[in-house]
Symmetry: C2
Subunit: 455 residues, 2 copies
């Protein structure tokens, strides 16, 4: 090698055929179910104007946006003073575009730009990569797929119920049966903040208890104390961490505690109704657990919130979502309520690998390789190859007449299950020698028998 | 609207559900055939290190690369003099990554990085967007999909034949029957350059005659003259523009002309063999035309080259490819020969729209909407909804009990073919009223009849 070998940018990955068969198995399953639930596909460009993205993900998020340098002489219109004042001042003059950070903001942008053409309620799904300049670490990449479904333009709780039934179906269909859908309501957290005399502080409350799984209860309380929650407040708060029982029992206990909270009673009524809808939809067996300590990090949620965890696998949430009322307000279109869910595909992939659920996902790979022994057999093989493909069988021929051993080793490395040893010997003119690469067995078949075996 | 409405970056597009159903119909068709021909999927990251991309597409290409600003304080390590010397000097210090410009260079990078794990010959397909900072114009975007298949690691002409048979099958399958696959050989162009006493100038020859379709023969000759081709050379060159007849006739005429060219005779032998393989593969009916004026713009081709044009539609080539010998040499791995083809999906979409070939591509859309009249009927509708979905029928319910007229108008705008008018009236308890939205007809069916109609 005369040159420095090429490398991949930090935090990015190539996806090999095997990984793609597996990942596409997840995508195809989700897509199929999205469509069954009436969601329509949408795709937006990889980059957006920074005016669309900036300020939507907090200060930290702004720093994690990948910015695209303006093309041509990007310094042409830049004032010298701007350069002298450092990169933050220079940035807006030399970069106007950024890679999308999630699918939610581009979706909101799309809805606002196309509000006159969209038929509301609008059910869309979107499966595309997003990019974040996060510090790469195990399981965290700078390029990864998001997989979202949202229903926008209606406040009906039927939508929450449909999304939860759909989420349940997705995990069941993927073969992940031991999971929990955790559910809570943002207004209930508002009510709790009031009831512990920390009214108006529900945002701080959410941020802190969202970390419960990662840092534990003690540190959550420490963080809340540092954010100005009094020890009386914190003492009262303990209640929600200790609540136990069925969903009905937990809800009714909490209802007593928050009897005076208007926000609280909205939340209870909506959760009651939502559980009712779930039952009517026949999804009462879905493993849904009400948990008043579920908070979700994102600030835009205003109603029911959900998160999915796989039991006994310490990988964090594999999906989450909820109701929001003001998503398009940031682009000047108020009063558009919606509810959405996002599947964490990288983590689902990881879970399925751990649970060994990928065995059956190789259907799309090559089914048979035809050998290439000499000019005569190549000619025959090419004819058979064309016939096999005309029967929709995924087939390839070894492209040159190298040693048979090398050809078989190729098929073996590629996990091709069958090899057709093509020989133009007269006695075999109507029969073909098929080698099963798993068992090593070789048998003779007619063409139609061959097609039957491979179909 | 209180704020400036958001906009899309120049040269980018959102893809609405209808556009996606159509585009995915093209992708799915191509993907299916790729797999049938033994190609395996590959995906690479959206951005690559600029060290991988730069210098691979010529000076013009380098300028059209979208560069990504380094994250954090991108000026921290920049010398003041570098800034003073202008954007070209500054660029390498502030941007290390760029968006991929095509799928070929990332593929070569992948092959070199994974050469010890790949089983050669390696057949991969790749369908991903690429980005170019081209001046946007009708039909030319800054983000667009490429759709490539390559076989790398073998010189066998069987691969060329397979690719041409596959290309033929793709267009037939898409319903585009009136097209031409134009074929030529780079070494034949080398031979022609020698024969007209312009040896070593085949690169200039290719660049110029590649523009034949766009600028016409006179301007091609003008350009060649300006590039130093003598009038004697140009007079001799005219021959290849006038050549006519069947492929065999054209090849044999040209063979006489280039009898003394070694490069030429390699080309003729390969083309002969290729036509033979195409016949053996049963693809002799594919509309393949030999044309010695086909050049292809890219400099890396070394053998057979192909291009597909749709007859009677002035849209330029809808796909092209060829044999290359040195693709991975740029990354230090010599002697890896390959052959590939790239489908121009945006143009194929345009052609199919013009030919009205998209009628049948809406299969994935919602099949039925259930009405929502009051609390009682909503309850019944939700139950039926769950049952329909359990039969794999794509269904949705109108999420709230608004006026029936509004619900029907919603279904109509979304092109949902059937509406189930759900009423809990006793006499209809076992029958459902189905409205055909195309004919307006309403009829009563049992659930199993319903499933039959919709399946």
């Amino acid at each position: 090698m005369s040159k420095q070998p090429p490398t991949l940018p930090k935090g990015t990955r190539d996806f090999s055929p095997t990984q793609l068969y597996r990942r596409n198995h997840i995508f195809d399953t989700i897509k199929h179910i999205f469509q069954k639930y009436g969601f329509l596909p949408l795709e937006t460009p990889a980059f957006e104007n920074l005016s669309v993205l900036a300020g939507k993900y907090g200060d930290e998020g702004d720093q994690l946006l990948f910015k695209i340098l303006n093309t041509g002489d990007f310094l042409a219109k830049v004032e010298k003073e701007d350069i002298a004042q450092g990169y933050k001042t220079l940035l807006p003059s030399i970069a106007e575009k950024g890679l999308r950070y999630d699918l939610t903001v581009p979706f909101a942008r799309y809805v606002v730009m196309n509000r006159n053409d969209i038929t509301f309620p609008f059910r869309r799904y979107q499966i595309q990569p997003v990019w974040r300049a996060d510090r790469p670490q195990k399981g965290r990449y700078r390029e990864f797929y998001q997989c979202d479904a949202d229903i926008i333009g209606t406040k009906s709780l039927v939508c929450e119920a449909e999304i939860l039934a759909m989420v349940n179906e997705v995990f069941q269909q993927l073969g992940i049966h031991d999971f929990t859908i955790v559910i809570n309501h943002r207004k209930l957290l508002t009510g709790i903040a009031s009831s512990i005399r920390a009214a108006g502080k529900e945002h701080e409350l959410c941020i802190a208890i969202d970390k419960l799984d990662k840092i534990g209860r003690d540190k959550v309380f420490k963080e809340l104390a540092s954010r100005g929650f009094t020890s009386t407040s914190l003492h009262k708060l303990e209640f929600i961490f200790n609540i136990q029982g069925t969903n009905e029992e937990k809800l009714s206990l909490l209802r007593k505690h928050l009897a005076s909270s208007e926000e609280g009673s909205i939340a209870f009524n909506e959760l009651d109704k939502l559980f009712q809808y779930i039952k009517t939809l026949g999804a009462e067996d879905a493993p849904i657990t009400f948990d008043p300590t579920l908070a979700r990090g994102l600030s835009y949620y205003t109603g029911a919130i959900f998160e999915v965890k796989v039991n006994n696998i310490a990988i964090g949430s594999v999906g989450g979502g909820g109701r929001y009322d003001n998503l398009t307000t940031i682009f000047g279109l108020p009063d558009v309520s919606g509810v959405g869910f996002s599947f964490g595909v990288d983590r689902i992939y990881e879970v399925m690998a751990q649970l060994n659920l990928f065995a059956q996902s190789h259907k799309s790979a090559v089914q048979i390789m035809l050998t290439n022994i000499d000019t005569e057999s190549e000619k025959l093989a090419l004819k058979v190859l064309a016939q096999l493909r005309s029967k929709e069988i995924k087939a390839e021929i070894y492209p040159s007449p190298v040693k048979l051993k090398k050809q078989l080793s190729y098929a073996n490395k590629k996990n091709i299950p069958f090899v057709l040893i093509v020989s133009p010997r007269k006695e075999l003119i109507d029969k073909f020698t098929l080698k099963n690469m798993h068992t090593g067995a070789q048998n003779q078949y007619t063409f139609s028998e061959l097609v039957q075996i491979l179909s």
